[in-house]
Amino acid sequence: MVSQREVLTGKHLMQGDVACAEGAIAAGCKFFAGYPITPATEIAERMARRMIEVNGMFVQMEDELASMAAIIGASWAGAKAMTATSGPGFSLMQENIGLAVMTETPCVVVNVMRGAPSTGQPTEGAQQDVMQSKWGSHGDYSIIALAPASVQEMFDLTIECFNLAETYRAPTFLLADGFTGHLWERVVIPSPEEIKIVERKKPVVSPDKYMPFKPDEDLVPPMACFGEGYCVHVTGLTHDELGYPKTTDPKVQHKLVNRLCEKMRKNANRIVRTYESMLEDAEVAVIAYGIPSRASLNAVKKARESGIKAGLLRLVTVWPFPEKQIEELATRVNAIVVPEMNCGQIVREVERVAKETPVHLLSKIGGELHSPSEIFEAIRRAAGI
């Protein structure tokens, strides 16, 4: 499917943002629309250079509202499409993220999170948009969000974001942070044959029998794109399975919105990915995602060395929330520590799922990473030592 030019097979020293762009290209991204913003700008810059080389399309839009709108249009025109931004731009995108949800448009949105609220700390990494990525647009819905913890994962998880977006027909987020985005590390890019690429499901019926929003058993409708002769009408209004507005029929709203939420819940087993380290006999579990999971692993090892049975659960998938994994883990451990680069967001979800098991937040904001010793101390306190 993809050529050598699209996949830079080999070992590279690469910046996180650049690795993200290369991951997108390797995944088959053929359309990028964006607006400059620190610390995500390098993604747009890389795409500006590279898209033309791989017969793709790069366009710098007038703002993030337009960038998000453009990738939705491009996706309906048949292209795998992506945009990249940071907090302030992510806020502007929320309107059309809702449109992408409602119209079940496969697309990837990269948010290289920085200190917030508002203009905040443009050059400092943070994890303050985790809840926004779930609930940022109005209404009930579900999306997928992955959190990379290394430059390698900026590449790998961007590909996975495309595969998930195309499979479940939903905006899919790469929730990176300014540190990982600007980090330089070794990246190993496999050969094209080794990279798993997913294409969107197409209709198998003739245009006169096609119902654009009638789901299959997996709750995902096959997608006919513009120009394919299926005469599709797409609207952000509540619509029936033909795609036509039905805005006052409670049954239509109920069926549609529940399916949009249920789509991720029902497929959570297939979507959710977590990594476990030293959890088999753990008494204290650290639950981390993104860059703090690296210091967490270090801290867990240090705890083991000092005789504390600690382990790490790293969430690669943040949304849908890995409920089952955490629920099960909570029954086995005495305490949970959640280091986050915000004032406490995912910790609320952990508390909800962990029920009686004590959950300790280790919040850190301002532009510094958690140090392993800080997390070690938190593990120690949680262990009651």
Binding site: A69, G73, W76, F226
Partner: protein, 282 residues
Amino acid sequence: MTVIQEFEKHPLAKYLRAERFPHIWCEGCGDGIILHCFVKALDDLAVDIDKFVVVSGIGCIGRAAGYVKCDSFHTTHGRPIALATGIKLANPKLTVAVLSGDGDLFAIGGNHFIHAARRNVDLTVICSNNFNYGMTGGQSGPTTPLDSYTTTTPYGNIEHPFNLVHLAAAAGSVYVARWTVLHVRRLAESIKKALRKKGFKFIEVISPCPEIYGRRNKLGKAIDIMKLYRQISEIRHGYDPAKAEITREKIVVGEFIDIEKPTYGELLQKQFIKIQQKLSEG
């Protein structure tokens, strides 16, 4: 004979989704006339309807995207041009037209309009200008004339309106025209011309809103508004759009701008060939 069978006897029925009618527009609204002129243009040009996309925003005319029988997208408020840009650039084989209103395109969506015009993206944008937000019950908008009454200007409008054709020309549109819905044949011809031409084309259509804007401003019934259009409109092709402000006494209509300029797609294609050549030379 069922309503749909009756509907399908209409010579332009093949361009419309019969099952979506009757439409939502009020009696006397000009949007039906605009839609008619639009599909008439498609028919006259014998466009490949499978490769034709209509995009609209939010507002009364926004519903037109749901009535035309082709691929169509009814977007969020103000964003049809940005979304249409994505469609056109991702698949240049598609012909993309935007049908939307004055509030959608020039208030909430104003930024997208000027930038798409500046880039010269190959789009045909048709604006139904009824001088107010009809769908939400008649609030003032960016084209509401001074001293007019709307629900949000109960003491008269004190904001200066945009002259849309001037704005479009200044932003770089290669084709700029204005008609009223009284000028059905000229409007259809103008749409045809725009669809045949490459680049960012803009047509403003002055459209009556007798039920909402008209009632508050004592403009009479739709027929009275049409009579007014006949009285005060003046066809002046090539007229300076800067001077074509709409007043109570005069609406200058016609084709104001018709120039050639490389489109975004054409310039990109040139660049693409150059880069590909360079790459193949290694």
